[in-house]
């Protein structure tokens, strides 16, 4: 998938970096300081954004089915508009 088109949006869409890393590098997450909820400084108004998912932890299969997702990063239960 070619994402080059989106690369000039101030790094909002982080390219998948794993592809360029060796196995050892993969063990430490490259994005420890990256907060997917914060916007870059000059984010244009009235645009919709979806941060690109990065590989993180995974639930075991028991918990995954119960939570409705394998990925803790995507485990975002709706609580009437208030954040977790």
């Amino acid at each position: 998938m070619n994402l080059d088109l989106f690369d000039n949006i101030d790094g909002l869409l982080i390219r998948e970096r794993e592809n360029y890393l060796e196995d050892d590098d993969l063990k430490s997450r490259p994005d420890n300081n990256y907060d997917p909820s914060s916007f870059p400084e000059r984010t244009p108004l009235a645009m919709a954004y979806i941060p690109y998912q990065q590989w993180g932890n995974v639930y075991d299969d028991d918990k995954a089915l119960a939570q409705g997702t394998l990925f803790p990063d995507l485990d975002l239960p709706f609580k009437g508009g208030s954040r977790l």
């Binding site: 998948e16 794993e18 592809n19 993969l26 998912q53 590989w55 995974v58 299969d61 089915l65 997702t69």
Partner: protein, 82 residues
Amino acid sequence: MNEKKMLLMKIKKYDFALKELNLYLDTHPNCRRALSLFKQYKQLREKAMSEFVSKFGPISPEDSNDSSHWTWVDDPWPWERS
């Protein structure tokens, strides 16, 4: 939970994990960690499936694997399950 239900539950969980990884891999096709996890769950699913089929019969027609008898039509039918 009896053995049959437990095995079905296992298959259900593995199927779900595989579907999640499937969706992730659609957008991250070169992620080796996702690929290796997909492979692990695929093997677990195959193991659980063959165990289920050998003990309780086919889950779908293509699981019917007997050269002298079409086991897909064996009892119990879905509405006859206790």
